[in-house]
């Protein structure tokens, strides 16, 4: 059972995070060397001034993770060491399990975590980690899956879009525009729904027994005016799905700026990009500084200006339970030209599913900026009945105006466009 040849092999040949602590690096060869450096915030209890040398690799591993932007608290390091000693450790696997249970929190970074673990404890080559941010996994395997499903069909309609993946990255130059106002107005402009959480109110509510009774007690048994509570109104979620395929090239930079303003302004907004893959960029856009946020988001997305697989990627979005939960009761705005390569059956299914989940489903297409635009392509005609809005997405002004008007009722897209054409 006891795998004794193993536990201390990690001490050799591992990568030292800072490279400064020579004592730590050679802890394997020289076990007598006391460990003197603790993280500054670590609690220094009596007897902890010099930790047993065997703990050095664990401390070192936690530090390595910290260096790679894993949030690890001092108490987690202590728990990690306790966990390792509770488990034996009988084998390297015990150490790994302890590390996973105590230190690794987000499943999205599991792959990265494992790579660091192997590199550190087994002395593997430096881990090659792509896309350190959220959702790498989903982004990758969804893309791979879509590739498998790729049919060798004739390309009809949408000459601009192609299924070929062209992976490239892009920089966004920053400039000033009227998005500040949009950001400030957004939270109050989104449609509201009644929350189950209640708030105090002076009129029109139900009796708040708790406060009323304490009022009665403090008034010595007199019954003053009753205290009331009422369900609060909270803004709905906003879900932006941005098409980053080649045919949308001219607009994606503007759309990302809009998305940044939306994430900053709304209480709960989620932003995804889709082309040949699906990428969640919400967490990148939470950075306040726009240039930084956009640069981060740009680095996350692999499929800039590539082909379009609109239907399959949107279906992939809906088949991840936690993503489709974002769409539930939300205002879903798809920013795309709706040019789907080949068959649009999947796009239609995806849009119908969105319709069933969302509070309001809108498609903003830059093509509608042209006064002669009519929803004439077969894909657009097929999804028109399920759309609440089909609007002009060619300029930031028209888009911000539209999003700020989401709370106001409007006739369904089908009705409007039938009247026009």
């Amino acid at each position: 059972m006891r795998d004794l040849d193993n536990p201390f092999s990690p001490f050799t040949g591992r990568r030292c995070p800072e490279g400064a602590d020579e004592g730590q690096r050679h802890a394997g060869q020289n076990l007598a060397l006391p460990l003197t450096c603790l993280p500054a915030s670590s609690p220094r209890k009596r007897g902890e001034e010099s930790l047993p040398p065997a703990t050095a690799p664990f401390l070192g591993f936690a530090r390595l993770l910290r260096d790679h932007a894993f949030a690890i608290a001092p108490e987690q390091i202590t728990s990690f060491m306790q966990a390792v000693s509770l488990l034996g450790p009988r084998s390297m696997n015990d150490i790994r399990e302890a590390a996973l249970a105590i230190l690794a929190s987000s499943p999205d970074r599991r792959g990265e975590f494992e790579a660091h673990f192997r590199a550190y404890f087994y002395g593997d080559a430096k881990p090659s980690i792509e896309g350190e941010e959220d959702e790498t996994r989903v982004k990758d395997d969804r893309g791979a899956r879509a590739e498998e499903n790729q049919t060798v069909g004739q390309e009809k309609g949408g000459e601009l879009s192609s299924a070929l993946e062209q992976l490239s990255s892009r920089d966004f130059p920053g400039d000033a525009d009227g998005l500040g106002q949009f950001r400030r107005k957004l939270a109050s402009a989104l449609p509201a729904r009644r929350s189950f959480r209640t708030a105090r109110t002076r009129s029109r509510g139900t009796l708040d027994l708790r406060r009323s009774l304490s009022e009665i007690v403090s008034a010595d048994g007199d019954i003053p005016s009753p205290q009331l509570r009422r369900r609060q109104a909270v803004p709905r979620k906003l879900l932006l799905l941005i098409d980053v395929s080649g045919s949308m090239k001219l607009h994606t930079a503007d759309y990302l700026k809009l998305a940044h303003a939306a994430v900053q302004g709304a209480d709960s907004a989620e932003v995804f990009t889709f082309g040949t893959r699906l990428t969640r960029i919400t967490s990148a856009l939470r950075i306040r500084n726009r240039e930084q946020a956009l640069a981060r988001a740009a680095a996350l997305v692999d499929d800039w200006d590539g082909g379009t697989r609109m239907g399959p990627t949107l279906l992939a979005f809906l088949s991840v339970p936690r993503f489709s939960a974002f769409a539930r009761g939300a205002c879903v705005v798809v920013l795309s030209d709706g040019l789907e390569r080949g068959s649009h059956a999947e796009l239609e299914i995806a849009m119908r599913r969105f319709r069933a989940r969302a509070f309001r489903l809108s498609l903003a297409t830059p093509l509608a900026g042209d006064p002669r635009f009519r929803p004439a392509t077969s894909a657009l005609r097929a999804i028109l009945p399920v759309l609440d809005d089909l609007v002009d997405g060619s300029s930031l002004t028209s888009l911000t105006d539209f999003i700020l008007s989401l709370a106001r009722p409007a006739p369904a897209a089908g009705t409007i466009w039938k009247r026009v054409s």
Binding site: E97, R197, L209, S212, I216
Partner: protein, 293 residues
Amino acid sequence: MANADAVAVAASPEAIAARLVASRYLADDSLATAIFLAIRLGKPLLLEGAPGVGKTEAAKAVAELLGRELVRLQCYEGIDAGHALYEWNYQRQLLAIRHAGEHEIDIYDDRFLIARPLLQVLRAPERRVLLVDEIDRSDHEFEALLLEFLSDFQISIPERGTIRAATQPIVILTSNRTRELAEALRRRCVYHWIGYPDARREAEIIMLRSGDVAEATARAVANAVQEIRARPLAKPPGIAEAVEWANAATILEKGGSPWPEAFRRAIGVLIKDEEDLSAIAPELGRIVDEALG
């Protein structure tokens, strides 16, 4: 740290795994280790995973292996202290005040206190296990409240003072990850991500959880479900659905349907979405045949 009987039960991850099997729950090594660590370190256990992978079942199994009662707090949007901690029975208080007349009465007596799940567990931590189910459904305010509870295991009632747990309660939290939980909450917990099991383990689970399903059926169901999960469905089938499917197909087969037909007719318990059904229908025959063969 944790109390003595729990420590005695949790001698090693293997002991936990064996006891979980006795409670009809098949845990992989990683989950058994996480449960072991949570009990021994006295930390809450945070289980995350897609819907239907058996998070709540795991909590039930842990309560059973410790021989304790499971107190479940189902979270929902808008849940607040009154639903989670305690509430005063205002009607009874008012009646008592009127009844007492001129006598003095303590309206903050125990009999007016309604203990909600967190307080119930705090009062008898050695007899109860707390399950905070689907915490991602609650809002941020509630998460903060829970954080306070989980770090000190105490509740302050202004009228009564602070109630502290005699020993550290065992707490299990589950989440479907529809929302990111606060870093502070994750940090305090032992974490485990439950994924879908591989076909072999899933077959074992089906055998364990279902009534009388033949081994070949269980294996065929497990294979077919793996295949179906690989497709972009609106609702990928969970383990519970797979178990039901195996049960339903067995019943149909006993009623006289031949094998592949029984699977096809019982598909309604596996896939509960009309569009998913129509998407999978043309391929179902092939999937089932392959799984059987």
